[in-house]
């Protein structure tokens, strides 16, 4: 009987098309749609902050250079991972991540909680030539980042697009995006003060690449690396954390 049915079906191109669409649609709908409706999917984290414009620019450099191909940002709920990298990742921690950068390969270590683990100086040295600080490393050198000025004039457009998609940036943040990016990498300027006002006093304002006069892509990338795992403390409060939340000054 099923065979006779199929002999009829395969005589009709439109019939096959409809049957294929029907068969192929079920899985995706059942698995994806509830992720938007079930409240427990993403935890609550009232202390969660957004990326500053400089960090967002750094994140885009991380995406552009394909860092996600070798570094995950997703600590799994396994003992050895929690002991190696820190508390396992929560969904809320990537709530503002578009796209998510969980990754699926660790040629290098996980970076979900790398923020605050090393100094800015270490990151700059490491990105300039990884083998200077880790002799066994096979990571590419990213020397050109420190030579390339960061393109900041487009940043209001970036924040506006994120805002349109639901990230709660205020109009003031959008408007001042370029100035805030400049300010976060140039401490002691008038622009620096605005960053703390808009994004919180804990925001790290620093000459990330060691040069105060120019904001480079190195500044942005290091600023991003230093915030990884520190947008919210939720992972340290709601899970069996083996350590306290790292000190922002550390």
């Amino acid at each position: 009987m099923p065979e006779i049915f199929h002999r009829k079906l395969e005589r009709s191109a439109i019939g096959l098309v409809i049957a294929i669409i029907a068969a192929a649609s079920v899985g995706g709908i059942v698995e994806i749609a509830p992720l938007f409706t079930i409240d427990e999917t993403v935890e609550e984290a009232p202390d969660m902050r957004m990326y500053t414009p400089l960090e967002l620019a750094g994140r885009n450099i991380y995406v552009r250079e394909g860092c996600y191909a070798c570094h995950s940002q997703m600590i799994r709920t396994l003992r050895d991972e929690v002991e190696r990298y820190g508390p396992y990742s929560l969904a809320v921690e990537s709530k503002y991540d578009r796209p998510m950068l969980w990754g699926s390969k660790r040629t290098g270590p996980d970076l979900a909680r790398v923020g605050g683990k090393y100094s800015d100086f270490w990151h700059v040295a490491h990105l300039t030539n990884p083998r200077d600080v880790v002799p066994e490393s096979n990571m590419p050198a990213y020397r050109w980042l420190a030579r390339t000025s960061l393109k900041m004039e487009d940043l209001p457009l970036h924040l506006a697009a994120q805002k349109a998609l639901g990230v709660p940036y205020t109009d003031e943040m959008v408007e001042n995006a370029a100035r805030d990016a400049y300010g976060q990498a140039t401490p002691d300027t008038d622009f620096a003060a605005g960053v703390a006002t808009r994004y919180g006093d804990e925001t790290q304002v620093s000459a990330f690449d060691g040069v105060k006069t120019d904001v480079t892509e190195m500044d942005a990338l290091v600023a991003y690396l230093q915030i990884l795992g520190r947008l919210t403390g939720a992972a340290y409060e709601n899970t069996a954390a083996p350590e306290g939340k790292p000190n922002p000054e550390g």
Partner: protein, 545 residues
């Protein structure tokens, strides 16, 4: 090639090329200093080259009236050439990135040559450049022969083929200059994605209209797979790539899917790119070229039905097995694992159906390297689908995930299954398409076969070893209860395998180069005086149909 088009069709081609060039000009104008402007110029150059070709042939003699009584093979020939060109490019990029992992200084002091930018040029080059062109070319061939009908369009096959290659060029050049969404196997930005939708819809309509012209009552099983490939890839592509550009003048966009939902959507897409691009389409190839070459009918009609609907239904649930133990809700992980394990049934039904078709033709498998390519492909398909179901089991995945085992698994499928079935199909197709008696050199097909097999085995064994060692080192504890190895310890242990992997890939690349030479020499050799058998559709019953 232009001789197959009437003068009004040539004019339409020129109009389309001009329209595309204008879009390129608009992109260049609004993009200005943004990388979008660079791509605008590229679109203009591409359309300009097509326009130049069309205009230079505008006054060539027109095709004869009986055009409809023959198959339309010109786009297939070009598709095969493009496919092999992309194969060499994509595999070269693969060898280069593999070598960079062993010798990280094998790069220039500039962004474009660093690992993270080269890697997607490899994946896109081989999957979409090599695989995609091979799929378009063989689907055009199979649908005509199994329907006994000429393609239902004169221009649209060219639009699909060239438009698709323009997409590939935009994608690959974009990664080098720093344009990427970072979505696995879907890195191209919004404007390239929109262009692909236009191309793909044309492809679908062309395919459906050709099937509607068929002179056979039933639609052959290979066409079910090609239709599933075209349809579902369209759905996946559109949903995964929904994004908001920061402005019309910028290449950069932000995906509409945030965090955990994006993870699910990306792997729903990613795993089904494997399913419907790298499996369904290539099963379409297998179901036509394997029986043709073996001169045996498909073993079981029922198994074909079972495996087709099993694959179409089950695969779409499996993507979440990429996210075990992550912040994705547990119930979704469990569903993904369950369906991944069930997938073994339709997968092995296909592999078994292919191998049992060879019963009675095993002497040909022994003597004919082309058929052996397809036999080996079916075996690797069986192995890698078993491995896939196995790795999707949560505790197994806790060891294998994030390691080279995943990379080895992908390549068991991509080299062993996808590339081998493609080479076998092309070696079957090329002589018949160019009306040659056989390939230029059977010995070179044999050489290619053994290079491909050796390369695949070296690659896969190296990655199995490195992956399992890596996974074990990460979770090994000392007697005192501390982690035994630092991350760097595990990296140091990888180097010998990274070298072996690059070597295996190099062998595979050399095999592809040998294949290019063989195909080139076949095309250059003298055609048969008279075709062996009449390779034409049934003449239309009513003139002007």
């Amino acid at each position: 090639m232009i001789r197959q088009l009437t003068s009004s069709e040539r004019q339409n081609a020129a109009v389309i090329a001009i329209a595309v060039a204008i879009v390129g000009l608009a992109m260049a104008a609004v993009g200005r200093t943004d990388v979008l402007g660079v791509h605008g110029v590229m679109v203009m150059l591409f359309a300009g080259a097509v326009l130049f070709y069309v205009l230079s042939g505008l006054y060539q003699p027109e095709p004869t009236e009986d055009r409809e009584t023959s198959y339309y093979d010109d786009p297939i020939k070009v598709g095969i050439v493009l496919s092999m060109a992309w194969a060499v490019f994509g595999m070269f990029m693969g060898v280069w990135v593999a070598a960079q992992l062993a010798w990280p200084n094998l790069a220039f002091d500039a962004g474009w040559s660093s690992f993270g930018r080269l890697r997607p040029t490899h994946t896109t080059g081989v999957i979409f450049g090599f695989g995609g062109n091979a799929l378009i070319a063989t689907s055009f061939h199979v649908v005509q022969r199994t329907s006994r009908a000429r393609l239902a369009g004169q221009l649209s096959p060219w639009f699909v083929l060239l438009g698709y290659n323009l997409f590939c060029l935009l994608a690959v050049s974009g990664y080098l200059i720093g344009v990427t969404q970072s979505k696995e196997y879907a890195e191209a930005e919004w404007y390239a994605d929109i262009w692909l939708v236009i191309v793909w819809v044309t492809y679908f309509i062309l395919y459906l209209r050709t099937i509607a012209r068929r002179k056979e009552p039933h639609i052959y099983v290979a066409n079910w797979y090609f239709m599933a490939f075209i349809l579902v890839v369209a759905i996946l592509h559109i949903v995964n790539n929904l994004a908001l550009p920061i402005s019309w003048g910028h290449a950069k966009s932000y995906t509409v899917w945030p965090g955990v939902q994006d993870a699910m959507v990306q792997w729903w897409y990613g795993h089904n790119a494997v399913a419907f691009f790298l499996t369904a389409g290539f099963l379409g190839m297998l179901y036509y070229y394997l029986p043709v070459r073996a001169q045996r009918p498909i073993f079981s009609y029922r198994l074909s039905i079972l495996s087709f609907w099993g694959i179409t239904f089950f695969y779409m649930w499996a993507g979440s097995h990429h996210l075990h133990y992550t912040a994705l809700p547990h119930w979704v992980q469990t569903l993904g694992m369950t369906f991944s394990v069930m997938l073994l049934v339709p997968s092995w039904a296909s592999a078994g159906n292919a191998l049992l078709t060879l019963n009675g033709a095993w002497h040909r498998v022994r003597d004919d390297a082309t058929l052996r390519f397809m036999m080996a492909a079916a075996v690797f398909y069986g192995i890698s689908t078993f491995e896939g179901s196995f790795l999707a089991i949560r505790p197994v995945n806790s060891l294998s995930h994030y390691t080279d085992w995943t990379v080895g698994h992908v390549h068991a499928g991509a080299l062993g299954w996808v590339a081998l079935i493609t080479f076998g199909s092309l070696y079957t197709l090329v002589p018949s398409l160019w009306k040659r008696e056989r390939m230029y050199s059977a010995a070179l097909v044999e050489v290619h076969f053994w290079l491909a097999i050796a390369g695949t085995l070296i690659y896969v064994f190296a990655m199995w070893n490195s992956g399992i060692i890596q996974g074990l080192m990460w979770r090994t504890y000392t007697e005192e209860g501390a982690l035994a190895y630092s991350f760097v310890d595990s990296l140091v242990a990888m180097y010998p395998y990274y070298i072996a992997r690059a070597f295996g890939g190099l062998l595979f690349l050399i095999g592809a180069v040998v294949g290019c030479y063989n195909i080139w020499m076949t095309v250059r050799s003298a055609p048969l005086a008279a075709p062996l058998n009449a390779d034409v559709p049934i003449a239309p019953a009513v003139a002007g149909e």
